[in-house]
Symmetry: C2
Subunit: 605 residues, 2 copies
């Protein structure tokens, strides 16, 4: 038994002891955290601490008679490697006969007659809770909220919650003062008849307060709750913002300690005439249970979601600025890579990744990467979320190299993917690259009327690949925050769950791809901002025409483009795009890199 | 005051008298009927009988202090023409400040403090009822079910309910015996834990029973309810099917009189241990209220919806057969039209429409049109639902002529639209026609993986038109029944509400269009059946590849095709399609028509 296994076994034994004390048969440990972060701080990674499984998603059900872990296809292998089969049964979702967590709750209840399941309300979303409630059908069964979290009690070296400094952004960067934002939010509250709005998502709180932090890696957010009432707003933070920040916001927001939040919400809940606006999609049962049963709830999407997604002029300008820096740095890294390879230097995934980081860091305003760089050589390109650039995997002639990366630059967030040829590409590589590029261009040049949702655009991006018998297993595009999270809603472009109409000011990625196990991957990703196109003929129903305007300005690898596969309109788009890249980024580079860029932007015509 | 106005005024006065007796402030009269038919029998057209407004959609709220009619943009003009402003205020939905019916209920309640609204549960869908319940917020307000319908009592010359004969279809046409269908339905009921399934939609009842009727024009259905229990099934019909039909079904279905339905459902409702499956989307409050409050309801889409939509081999064969007849007849009508025009004969919309009907009627197995033929010359082509072919509107040289038509042939239902040039077309006509044709072809030749829903395909059909600044205000495609309703769900291809994945065996239309007021319209519609394409390379996730296979075999007007606008793949599709038309339909025609078809199928190449 390894040390790790031994430590986990000890934790489990201690936890089961507590289950007995709490009179529950089983205990849920989910991957979600108190703010339903996509990526959370380490102290919230309780599922990993008790199971050993470190994947980003997957719930566990702990039970003295045998525990269970539920993982999707991304994590079949990793889960088998990381968890101890002596304690855990791994359920592989999507495999024939595999149970989901909710399915298993039903099954366990059936076997035992009834089932009492403990859970931590502060790490369980209201949506997940609803599905567990539905899963248990017997009157003797129950979901039992247990606070504080039982894993914390047995996690002997649990890290402390983050407490990084909070800083404020100038209005020139955010484009809108906190006072303005609160006025707009309160107008929506008045329309909905809500007296209070509770915000629990960190990016929403950062957006409303024009504050940022670094409690989560790559996402410039800070752990907090925000309660907006008609006359006041209270922000509950781990660390108090600096005095000058507090002073500047004094007429708008009062700051209190993070741990004062539950009591404050309970007080709201104890005032029966108040209507509280709670967005189920962003809230844990922790907050829900603090509100009295009799509380009037306005359960609807909170108004910040759309306000944040629709970028104002200053935000778009900051996004553009961030993309200039990101493009200059990435172009330099690709030029350096080519020079290194040209002189026979060996370059590993990690070496390139570090070189790119170095170039990014040298840009003015650089704060952080916006996510861990994916630098995937050869076959690793087929792993869509490959995030561990290796010092041992070298870029080899004849293979493709996929680089998905982005930065946080004051005011803006970037995310782009380029796939480049190491040495001379094969015909097959060129054919497939060009096919993916055609999908990218189809979406990039598409005009569409206002009201069009992302799902309607997903098919037209995939059309060329589908007709060639190919497809990619991810959405075509996601929303991106402005100096916030690299994934944000409500808009997305995908075959399901993408009903939000695209609006001017929204930022979306366009990232079709091709993946083949053992061979590699191609992904071509730009970010675009949705803009009106008022030069179009009038729409028959008077709708405004929209289109995508690129933020990303990095050339595609012309060696991989099979010009003969492209239509005239596709060629014209590409020529114009490369012109724009050269004209915009060229002046930001030194002569050597500018020359490299000029050649990279030259197309066969 | 005209006779009609006088008659309506008398009816209204009598109705208001009854409102007082029923102690309600207002009375809802909707366009929906007892079976939520898209097109219902005449005796159910109560909204027209009491308001004078004959449009297909639009609810009325009758009130002694002033009545209200709510219409959408299709009916702004018609409503103004048909209703008496002395009694009715017309609310034009979509106009600035216009109230919806539900919005107006809220407003009236606000003005009066509270509001008691009477309604006929048997002509109010459960979904509409839910929205009215939400609209009334005051505890003193109520929605009051009133049976029988109050309009019927004041509608002095209300026609009798239809009582057309019911006939059965042979299993060779339906492809599945009633016994088989009931077994499959009961398997779904068992899975859902339902003891009884109530069907109220006429096409679903016709499908399950393999019976047809003609109570609704163009839809071969009969007024009925069907209650399927674990051991028995009871069909409540206006007229008893012939003895031999009843005998053949005796072991499967018992027939009872239509008016015995409420009591039978009430009996079910009085058995508290039974779970009843009721599909809200297809049911009126009439049925819902017959079930006791305490009744266990399984509220979910009923299993017949998907069984009916996914055609079996025999149904697809019958659909194909119907389309051969429809194509031969329509081709003959177009050839005749061209000959008539060539000799200078004047042809009106109505004359063509009658000629087409004559050709359709001459086909073996012809039963009915599947909807009123749209024969729209010149500017009339811009009216999407133009259904009154005029004897006074002649086809004029230089204009386009749009013909949207279909038939019910034993076993199959057709629906196609062709737009033809009268005389030599202009360049603009050719450009726009070709653009619409490109949209048609884009969808017609698209491969897509199983699980793809119609909404994902809608955008790729529109892509070319959008990029040219054009759009059409209707969906790209709808489902079609097999010898049933020409519009059926759940699948459709449109920008909203089209989340149902397409499955092999589903039939959909593909009908992009272009409409310009005062100029005319272009619509190019074929029906397609979804089929697997197992010749494609394997899908990366192992999904099956699907595509559309044409049912409609009628040439496009080659005079209107601008060959230079088409890509090689589009040309290839068109050449193959015309070849298929000529090879398949040619042999069904006499020599003259065959020669005409050969020429019509010849493309510039």
């Amino acid at each position: 038994m390894s040390d790790t296994q031994h430590r986990l076994a000890t934790r489990l034994a201690a936890l089961f002891q507590r289950l007995a004390e709490s009179q529950v048969d089983a205990y849920l440990v989910l991957s979600s955290d108190a703010h339903l972060n996509e990526y959370g701080p380490i102290y919230q990674r309780r599922r990993a601490a008790i199971t050993g499984f470190t994947g980003s998603a997957g719930g566990a059900l702990l039970c003295p008679e045998g525990s269970h872990l539920f993982v999707d296809s991304r994590y079949y292998l990793q889960a088998d490697q990381e968890v101890d089969p002596a304690y855990f049964r791994v359920h592989k979702l999507g495999m024939e006969g595999a149970h989901t967590l909710t399915g298993w709750l039903t099954e366990m209840e059936r076997q035992r007659g009834s089932l009492r399941v403990g859970f931590d309300p502060f790490s369980t979303s209201t949506e997940a809770h609803t599905s567990y409630v539905k899963a248990l059908k017997n009157a003797g069964s129950a979901l039992v909220p247990i606070t504080p979290n039982l894993v914390d009690a047995v996690w002997e070296d649990c890290p402390a919650p983050p407490a990084q400094p909070i800083y404020s952004l100038p209005d020139e960067v955010t484009g809108r003062s906190v006072a303005d934002k609160l006025t707009a939010i309160r107008a929506e509250m008045a329309k909905a008849g809500a007296d209070a709005l509770i915000l629990t998502k960190l990016d929403e709180i950062a957006w409303v307060t024009n504050l940022r932090g670094s409690d989560v890696s790559h996402n410039p957010v800070f752990e907090a709750y925000l309660v907006i009432e008609r006359e006041q707003a209270t922000c509950f933070t781990r660390v108090a913002p600096p005095a000058e920040v507090q002073q500047a916001l004094a007429s708008q927001i009062t700051f209190q300690a993070y741990h004062a939040y539950p009591e404050a919400v309970q007080r709201l809940g104890a005032t029966p005439e108040l209507t509280v606006w709670l967005d189920a999609a962003g809230t844990t049962m922790g907050t829900r249970l603090l509100l009295a049963e009799t509380q009037r709830l306005h359960a609807a999407r909170n108004p910040v979601v759309l306000m944040k997604a629709v970028k104002n002029t200053a935000e778009v300008a900051a996004m553009r600025n961030a993309h200039l820096h990101a493009a200059a740095a990435k172009i330099r890294s690709l030029a350096r890579l080519e020079r290194q390879l040209a002189v026979g230097q060996r370059v590993s995934e990690l070496a390139y990744s570090e070189m790119l980081h170095e170039e990014y860091s040298s840009e003015a305003g650089f704060r952080d990467l916006s996510f861990t760089t994916i630098a995937a050589a050869g076959p690793n390109g087929a792993i869509v979320h490959y995030s561990q650039a290796s010092p041992d995997v070298e870029l080899r002639h004849g293979e493709l190299f996929l680089v998905d990366s982005g930065v946080q630059v004051l005011g803006g967030t970037t995310d782009d993917t380029r796939t480049v040829s190491i040495g001379t590409p094969t015909e097959r590589q060129r054919r497939l690259y060009t096919l993916v590029l055609r999908c990218h261009i189809a979406l990039a040049r598409q005009k569409f009327p206002e009201g069009t949702s992302g799902v309607v655009l997903d098919g037209l991006a995939r059309a060329s690949m589908w007709n060639a018998g190919l497809d990619y297993g991810h959405g075509t595009g996601h929303g991106v925050g402005a100096f916030l999270n690299v994934h944000e809603g409500p808009q997305r472009i995908g075959p399901r769950g993408s009903d939000e109409p695209l609006q001017p000011g929204m930022v979306v990625s366009n990232e079709p791809g091709y993946y083949e196990e053992g061979w590699g991957g191609i992904r071509l990703e730009n970010l675009y901002v949705v803009v009106p196109d008022d030069d179009m003929p009038p729409h028959p129903s008077g709708k405004r025409w929209l289109q995508l305007e690129t933020l990303t300005l990095i050339p595609f690898d012309e060696r991989l483009i099979d010009w003969s596969q492209l239509s005239d309109t596709e060629r014209a788009w590409l020529v114009r795009y490369h012109q724009q890249v050269e004209e915009t980024i060229g002046p930001l580079l030194n002569e050597d890199d500018r020359t490299w860029l000029r050649e990279a932007c030259t197309l066969p015509r």
